[in-house]
């Protein structure tokens, strides 16, 4: 459990984290989503005490990180890949961390095995690819068998096999009852693994929700209908869980709560001609960009304008 209370971090004039307030609960994967520069990494650094908050507080399992007797047993963190001396081997890196806590050598071998690094554990880490560095960081995070796992952009640089490995790992950890907090700037990745979602932009909390709700709010499973008689169809489709809004043209409707098959059948039964019947697949990426569009720190010169998802 991670509790973040009105957390603020300023670097001189710049406010990197601006009053964040949320709780990360055990048992599920919580995605921490935001564009680059939104304050995700800074927040994570404050959770493990690398940065001191300018205001507010953050506790892990009820206490400040630094006051735990065995911090690595409470929180395992992957903050940036390659937090390791290039001249040191993966084994020696992990072993040195283990020695500070009295974690047995057996456990070091275990996490090396688990991260799939057995073949390269004795090689100098400087020769590691980005993906292997990422695996080593994850091995370090798991070393203390922690109750809470924090991973900053864990899929960066991983091949598809590695990405799949991470997904299974995260859901497995959550199923064990652990708290899993994972940052990403890719909504699509989060949609596959996360249950809860914390969205930030420019250091501010934009949403503290579930993936399911986020998809729904983004205009989830709606159907676009173009018909000769929208007023009549509207009456025919009306129902307790059905929401119908006018579309872009006079003939168009957006229907939420019924699928294309049901709408088509109803229209056919009553002889209402349909010109178009399209299930809308909302792009999560677009929904995310729509939400954070104003909060993006660094726009490219050809900044992708938020496409305004179906809503």
């Amino acid at each position: 459990m991670i509790e973040i209370n009105r957390l603020v971090k300023r670097y001189g004039e710049k406010t990197a984290v601006d009053g964040l307030d949320f709780t990360v609960r055990p048992g599920v994967v919580t995605g921490f989503l935001g564009p680059n520069g939104a304050g995700k990494s800074t927040t994570m650094r404050m959770i493990v005490g690398l940065d001191e908050p300018s205001a507010g507080s953050v506790t892990v399992n009820g206490r400040r990180y630094a006051t735990h007797r065995a911090p690595l047993q409470e929180v395992g963190a992957l903050l940036e890949a390659k937090s390791i001396h290039p001249g040191r081997s993966a084994f020696h890196h992990l072993n040195a961390l283990a020695l500070t806590h009295g974690i047995p050598r057996r456990r070091v071998d275990e996490v090396i095995e688990q991260a799939g690094l057995s073949q390269v554990a004795r090689k100098r880490a400087g020769a590691f690819s980005l993906g292997m560095g990422q695996r080593l960081g994850i091995a370090a995070a798991l070393l203390g068998d922690p109750q809470t796992v924090i991973l900053d952009e864990p899929v960066n640089g991983l091949d598809p096999e590695g990405v799949l490995w991470i997904r299974n790992l995260l859901t497995g950890l959550a199923a064990d009852g652990r708290t899993v907090f994972v940052s990403s700037h890719l909504m699509s990745e989060m949609a596959l693994t996360a249950t809860n979602l914390v969205v930030v932009g420019r250091g501010k909390l934009l949403a503290d929700t579930t993936v399911e709700r986020f998809i729904q709010d983004a205009g989830g499973h709606s159907v676009k209908v173009v018909t000769a008689d929208p007023a009549r169809l509207r009456d025919l489709l009306r129902g307790p869980d059905v929401e119908i809004t006018a579309g872009e043209s006079a003939e168009e409707l957006q229907v939420v709560g019924l699928d294309a098959r049901q709408i088509g059948a109803t229209a056919f039964d009553h002889g209402v001609p349909l010109y178009e019947l399209t299930p809308q697949t909302v792009s999560l990426e677009e929904a995310f960009m729509g939400m954070t569009g104003d909060a993006v720190e660094y726009h490219g010169s050809l900044a992708a304008t938020p496409l305004g998802s179906a809503a």
Partner: protein, 278 residues
């Protein structure tokens, strides 16, 4: 990297039945000791600098020729200890630089994040580096200066500056040299923690040990004579001089003053480590 292990399912996340790990001072020291020796640069730098110390001592001894026309580096050496320590300037640079690397290297490589996440109280990391590296430097440098004394002393046999190990002050001066080199190593660690950059730390180290005496020589004579003995380099020099110059500090006072400088640097390092974001 083809091993794909399914998600782990050891120990459920309740606290019962979990091993009771704990961070303790001795454990952090063990970890820092392991880190020191798991880098090739430690072995290379230490052995090279100490080999150089012995080799230069022997070169000084072989070129000892008072009053001769052909002049080598050791031609006018004052005593056998000065000959044995002929390479001290090089050795202190190497040992000091390695000290900077021990600490600032953590910042330049990002290791510091792992280190401080494991030991969030932070200061034990600094003390452990000081003890492990300072201790290593004292032992290895101490042994080396004695080896250098015997190796170069054998070559000085029969000259007017030959000295035995039992001659008055010799053991004291050699131990002083070992202690001086160890303190230079610790100074390097402290400057590395203070500056957090390898290049900056080395620059400050060289300034402290080698440029400061040159700069003070620009001062007016009276002022200079009052300041010079207390500079880190001069105070340190008093620690291993067999016959200190008349205006220099006594060996004991030299040790106290030089150690004082190192403690000052360490205090600054501790303050920065504890206070500012990693």
């Amino acid at each position: 990297m083809t091993t794909l292990t399914p998600a782990p399912a050891p120990a459920a996340a309740d606290t019962r039945g979990r091993p009771a790990y704990k961070v303790t001072g001795p454990r952090v020291l063990r970890a820092e000791w392991a880190k020191l020796w798991s880098l090739r640069s430690t072995w290379i730098t230490l052995s090279l600098s100490l080999a150089l110390l012995i080799a230069l001592g022997m070169i000084f001894a072989s070129t000892y020729a008072p009053g001769a026309d052909a002049r080598g580096p050791g031609a006018e050496a004052a005593d056998a200890v000065a000959v044995a320590l002929g390479g001290l300037n090089f050795a202190q640079l190497a040992i000091g630089v390695l000290g900077v690397l021990v600490m600032a290297g953590e910042y330049s490589t990002g290791t510091i994040r792992s280190t401080l996440a494991a030991v969030p109280t932070r200061l034990p990391v600094l003390w452990s580096k000081v003890i492990s590296y300072g201790g290593t430097a004292f032992l290895t440098a101490g042994v080396t200066v004695f080896v250098s004394f015997f190796a170069s002393g054998r070559m000085l046999d029969g000259t007017d500056i030959a000295l035995g190990i039992s001659s008055p002050g010799v053991v004291r001066a050699l131990l002083g040299a070992g202690a001086y080199l160890a303190l230079v190593g610790v100074l390097g660690v402290a400057l590395g923690a203070l500056i957090r950059s390898v290049a900056g730390g080395i620059g400050l180290l060289v300034t402290t040990l080698m440029l400061l005496p040159l700069l003070t020589s620009l001062l007016p004579t009276t002022l200079r004579d009052n300041i010079t003995p207390y500079l880190p380099s001069s105070a340190g020099g008093s620690m291993f001089a067999l016959h200190p110059a008349s205006d220099a500090l006594s060996p004991g006072a030299g040790l106290a003053v030089f150690a004082g400088w190192v403690v000052l640097a360490l205090a600054g390092a501790a303050w920065r480590l504890a206070r500012s974001d990693a």
